[in-house]
């Protein structure tokens, strides 16, 4: 028998209390897993979308990081095109539309000859008229539509001329219509949400070869000089400064912090009660010659076990919650639950840390027991 085995048996002996503590810790961890997990799902979905579009730079309105309400003049394209390293520019206008009282979907306005269409696998054909729409495979399935059917987008009717598959779940849950049509519907003529830029990665600057990263940075700086009133950022950066995502992440962390504190207090309460109840048993261990450090480790082992088991339960519960949330009409077309192994390992490590931190105070209490007082305790 070793110390962890003794700690485990001790916890097993108090099944109900241990179970309730694991339930409490697990619920807290599940809150963290589901909220931070959801935030990471959105982040990954954005990242995947930018990767798919071969986005090197995103040009948007300055000072407005909410992509739904930001708008820039599409004429800026002509100025940016003067930079020779810019390989392609795609104009994108983004909005949401209600499918019915419960369902919403993303609406993307693309130019009819946009290079972005080449990244999609289309069954049917691309847009030719402004009353035509391409619908993502996930959305078409949900709305039970097919090529030839009509679809209402923000009060206007469109004929579905193609169904597309995309590696981006965001796109697969969306409807693509002609840019100028969406501008009319949204009443933002000549405005787009963003420009998607692909840059020539290899080049020379001051007679020496430059890396892709340096090249992108150079183009970014050129655009900023050319058009000082717009915002130019790399794809990763835009994800990190996105207001909606950042707010959601902050909210997730705030709620998770409260949940973690509740978990720590829960374990401390359980362990202090356990130490008090076992005063005489810990006292006899000291009396027979156990070192205080071993008693300390015994109590810490127990609390770490509680944290670990709570973490495992929290992961299962958290992913369960995420799966349920992703079934909701608002989220089901955006992305799917990503079982990220690294994230799971991090959650388990955090759970172990929660267990360890919670065990410190009860462990100190346990080693401050004097054998003589402990033996009188019972």
């Amino acid at each position: 028998m070793n110390l962890p085995a003794l700690a485990f048996k001790n916890l097993w002996h108090r099944k109900i209390r241990t179970g309730l503590t694991i339930l409490g810790v697990g619920t807290s961890i599940a809150v963290f897993v589901s909220l931070v997990g959801l935030a990471s799902i959105f982040t990954d979905a954005f990242r995947q979308m930018y990767k798919l579009r071969q986005t090197d730079l995103v040009v948007r309105e300055k000072g407005n990081f909410d992509f739904l309400s930001s708008g820039i003049d599409e004429k800026y394209v002509e100025r940016i095109q003067q930079i020779p390293e810019v390989l392609s520019i795609s104009k994108i206008l983004i909005d949401f539309s209600a499918a019915n009282s419960k369902n919403y979907f993303l609406v993307l306005g693309w130019e009819q000859d946009s290079g972005l269409f080449s990244k999609l696998r289309i069954v049917g054909r691309t847009l030719q008229r402004d009353n035509e729409a391409l619908v993502g495979a996930a959305l078409v399935k949900k709305l039970k539509k097919q090529v030839g059917d009509s679809i209402e987008v923000k009060g206007a009717w469109f004929t579905i001329v193609g169904v597309f598959e995309s590696k981006s779940m965001f796109e697969e849950g969306s409807v693509i219509i002609a840019l100028d049509k969406l501008q009319k519907i949204k009443k933002v003529p000549g405005k787009v949400t963003l420009f998607n830029l692909t840059i020539q990665k290899h080049g020379f600057s001051a007679g020496r070869p430059v890396s892709g990263k340096e090249q992108i940075e150079r183009v970014r700086s050129l655009i900023t000089k050319l058009l000082p009133d717009i915002d130019v950022r790399g794809a990763e950066e835009i994800i990190s400064v996105d207001n909606s995502l950042a707010s959601f992440l902050n909210f997730a962390w705030a709620v998770s912090t409260v949940a973690f504190i509740a978990a720590i207090l829960g374990i401390i309460n359980t362990m202090v009660t356990s130490v008090l109840e076992q005063t005489s048993k810990l006292g006899i261990l000291l009396a027979i010659g156990w070192r205080k450090s071993r008693i300390l480790l015994l109590v810490l082992d127990e609390s770490i076990f509680l944290g670990l088991l709570g973490g495992i339960f929290g992961l299962i519960l958290g992913y369960g919650i995420m799966n349920v949330l992703m079934l909701s009409p608002q989220l089901q077309n955006i992305s799917r639950v990503n079982y990220n192994f690294i994230f799971m390992i991090k959650v388990i490590l955090v759970s172990l840390l929660v267990g360890f931190l919670s065990g410190i105070y009860p462990a100190i209490r346990a080693i401050s027991i004097k054998p003589i007082e402990a033996l009188r305790y019972e």
């Binding site: 001790n10 006292g283 010659g289 033996l375």
Partner: protein, 221 residues
């Protein structure tokens, strides 16, 4: 007995509650190696206090206790001294209810730097000494009170101590079981030459001892 004392108690006093309660009053005592000494006396006479002081669980207010030629303060400071030289048996057994007999006896051995196989061997030997081989893997909750005290005795014996300190070990037992336990202590004392100091208020225990002393109001009578 002409052997060198294992324990020498010199002018030992213990006060409690800031000196208002005198538990032991200038006690002098010598306990020789291999002796079976019973300390008797009524409740509150100071006998458990004396036992706890000898075991290093409490500190004296005045006087000194020597283990061979060194004060217990010195020897108990040595790492593992209590583990390797002393065994405790208490009236309340203090067993771990979630563990079986073997695991309870293994508890002191968890501090020992021995191989797992050696630890198991020692624990099984100790269980054999108290005649509980057939209960090795039984939960201590399923044992009779007498058997539980035997487990506690095996736990006290497992490290091969020179001295066993027993505080009212038969206090929770019926007379027949108490007699069995006393016979066991006697047998261990004779076979293993382990020194036993037992605190009890039961007159019957005196029959099993080599010597007894009586404490009354903290003084040896």
């Amino acid at each position: 007995m002409n052997e060198q004392p294992l324990i020498r108690v010199v002018d030992l006093s213990r006060y409690y509650q800031d000196g208002r309660v005198l538990a032991l009053d200038r006690v002098n005592l010598e306990i020789t190696q291999g002796e079976f000494l019973v300390i008797k006396g009524p409740s509150g006479s100071g006998k458990s206090t004396l036992l706890h002081l000898i075991g290093g669980l409490d500190l004296p207010t005045r006087g000194a206790i020597y283990f061979k030629d060194k004060t217990i303060k010195e020897v108990y400071r040595r790492r593992g001294f209590r583990l390797n030289h002393l065994g405790f048996v208490f009236q309340a057994f203090y067993l771990w209810p979630m563990l079986n007999v073997l695991e309870n006896v293994l508890l002191p051995l968890m501090e020992a730097s021995l191989k797992q196989q050696e630890k198991l061997q020692k624990a099984k030997e100790a269980i054999g000494l108290v005649d509980l081989q057939d209960k090795m893997y039984s939960s201590v909750n399923n044992l009779s009170t007498g058997q539980r005290q035997r487990v506690a005795i095996a736990r006290a014996l497992v490290m091969g101590p020179q001295l066993i300190l027993a505080d009212e070990p038969t206090g929770n037992l019926d007379s027949k079981t108490a007699e069995n336990i006393m016979n066991l202590f006697r047998m261990l004392n004779k076979q293993s030459r382990v020194t036993i100091v037992m605190v009890t208020h039961e007159e019957k225990a005196l029959e099993f001892s080599d010597r007894w002393i009586k404490l009354s109001d903290g003084k040896v009578q």
